[in-house]
């Protein structure tokens, strides 16, 4: 199954001398340049600051941390922008479909308010992952794999320019993991989105095929 990407533009993500300190101790220091479809893999033991890096990039860094450096997305400095304007998507370990919205509602939420043909786009997105007609379903009734697919489509519908992945496959069982992983990577690459993947699983790094940073 190929995903349909909403935009065929290419995006670039640059991390310049990004440093994270916690109580004076340096956690990580990173510089990277990611082009469209490239996946940067960040690996390390727990407590090494992997998730904090993602939080920093997305705009949720806890006040206890000190951060410095520059982050440019398509040439714009995203650190000046509030989190909701950065156009950086996030995939968590759990699909985290909003339980009070239907599947379609979840997808609709990702669409900008001004979008003209929401229903059509939602249906198209569902169809593209084999879940046509699931729009009115209760998210809690979906299987794990189905939820992941919906989460992915939700992410895409928000038209991000870069994507962060916080150990998104660690909760899945082995068989499902491979399937979802390949789907996610193919989709991201086809959509031309630079991605940062945080994981502790070397298989993920291998499948991503990009640069690997060890913390």
């Amino acid at each position: 199954m190929n995903t349909v990407s909403a935009s065929s533009a290419t995006h670039r993500l640059q991390l310049a001398e990004v440093r994270l300190n916690l109580q004076g101790r340096e956690l990580l220091r990173l510089s990277a340049e990611l082009t469209a479809g490239e996946i940067l893999c960040v690996m390390g033991p727990s407590g090494s600051g992997k998730s904090s890096l993602l939080a920093f990039l997305a705009g949720f860094l806890a006040p206890a941390f000190e951060a410095s450096g520059a982050v440019l997305l398509d040439g714009r400095d995203v650190l000046q922008l509030p989190a909701e304007q950065r156009r950086i998507g996030l995939l968590f370990q759990d699909p985290l479909l909003f339980p009070h919205l239907s599947v379609g509602g979840n997808l609709r939420f990702a669409l900008p308010a001004a979008c003209p043909d929401k229903s059509a786009r939602v249906e198209a997105a569902l169809a593209s992952v084999g879940l046509a007609g699931f729009a009115e379903r209760d998210p809690a009734t979906l299987s794990g794999g189905q939820k992941s697919r919906v989460a992915l489509q939700r992410l895409l519908l928000s038209e991000p320019h870069a994507v962060l992945l916080d150990e998104p496959f660690s909760r899945l069982d082995t068989a499902l993991r491979r399937e979802v992983r390949s789907l996610v990577f193919q989709t991201l690459q086809a959509a031309g989105l630079p991605s940062v993947l945080v994981t502790h699983d070397p298989e993920d790094a291998e499948a991503a095929g990009g640069r690997v940073v060890q913390l």
Binding site: F60, A140, S158
Partner: protein, 560 residues
Amino acid sequence: MLLRAAPWLVIALLLAPVALGVGLTLLPAFGYLPVLGGDAFSLTPWRELLATPGLGRSVLLSLLAGVLTPLLALAIVLSFLAGASGSALERWLRRLVAPLLAVPHAAAAFGLAFLIAPAGLLSRLVSPALTGWERPPDLLIVNDPWGLAMMLALILKEVPFLLLMALAALPQCEPGPRVLLARSLGYRPAVAWVLCVLPALYPLLRLPVYAVIAYASATVDVAMILGPTLPATLSVSVLQWFSDPDLSLRFQAAAGAVLQLGITALAMLLWRLLEALAARAGRHWLATGQRARGEAALRHSGRLGVAFLLALAVGSLLALLLNSVAGFWRFPDALPGNWTLQTWSRALPEVLAPLGNTLLLAGLATCIAVTLCLAVLEAEARQGRRLAPALWLLYLPLLVPQIAFLFGLIVATEFLRWTPDARLVLFAHLLFVLPYVFLSLSEAWRHLDPRWSQLATTLGAAPWRSFWRIRLPLLLGPCLSAAAVGLAVSVGQYLATQLPGAGRVPTLTTEAVALAAGGNRGIIAVWALLQAAVPMLGFALALLLPRLLWRHRLGMRSTA
């Protein structure tokens, strides 16, 4: 930007009146009240206060109630939680306990009085078969000299409150994994709970417990209905001095109010000491490594305690119901000989206006309180840090005895030339509703998985959209529960309605109190039931509405 200022605005809103009120009560306490001819500071009010007979006893009673009530209530709640094995019975008990919260203190006290009095329902049920009584026994149960009946009524109301607070705070303490871990080390479940979960839970319960201490040591409604009379508790005596036709007693009353403040503070201090002792005992227990002793006691006392209280509550409700439809009810008949709907039919036309006022006040106060609390919590969430220390001030109206500052507050509004009307009453209600709503809402709000908000944000939603579309719906259940609590608090307010409204805003509670002065059991029962019905409705709505709304959303059910 307004949102950023919200916490401070709210704190000012609550702090100012209380501080002002206490200050303006302090002045007459030291002799300064030009209105009554007190032009100079003096210690005469204190001398008069200390000369009143029975003062020491009154003080002791207040102190005793202030410490014993939370002690027993907390003991029951904690042992219930410790011994909880997740059985169906326990879930039922928990669910049944919640509606008790709805009943205003005065109504609960009336119900209990009708149940346990010598001529009450209990006595009638067992006579003459088991006891041989043809006339009510000459026993001093209600108004007993050590305030035990009063404390029982207080415990009856405080156990559901503390249970609710504990349940709200429990998830944060990870009880499941901790107990499991301790059990794998050989500890019995209830002991494991006490040693591993309680230390994490108690700090979260501290504030509600202090609120209980404040209420128990300074209650007026319950003390008047069930408390000792010769002498009465300090708060009741203070009220009597305020109401005395001899107006020079006002100074003494103000001094008494200040003394009450001191007693409440002393009770809290004593409680701190008890906390330290309990902590030491707990550490000793840990050190000894005892794994099984106390297991049975914990299990049984918790369940027995809750079951006993529920039985009392049901009995009280039954007593109220029976009295409201009883004609002449001879002792020792177990059921009334004549039934009549006259009491209800005579009361109902009188009910409409007070009911309307009650609903309006409670509805508005709750809406405003919930809105303000949401604003504060949102501001907190967006700034990413807790304003916890400053927010303690939010609870000030709960920790200061009502008597000590409501009076001074009225004096302040007079100086500002504000009319006594429903708006002032609303403000006074808000002072008490807001802290309870915040107490109920804050834990749930703060422990919402932050990833929901993060997700919403990364999907491009501005903070307001994230709030309305994601956070609020996810926490609808807790919001409605908090609203129900606020509603109940507003309905039960007596002093806060009577004073600012100058008697012109009748509510269910003010009417019930006025009628209680006549001693007619049927009338009291009717009004008590009406008083309890409104908050019950609120709680029922809070339970049913989410269920209705999310009937197609399985993922939302677990939060109920």
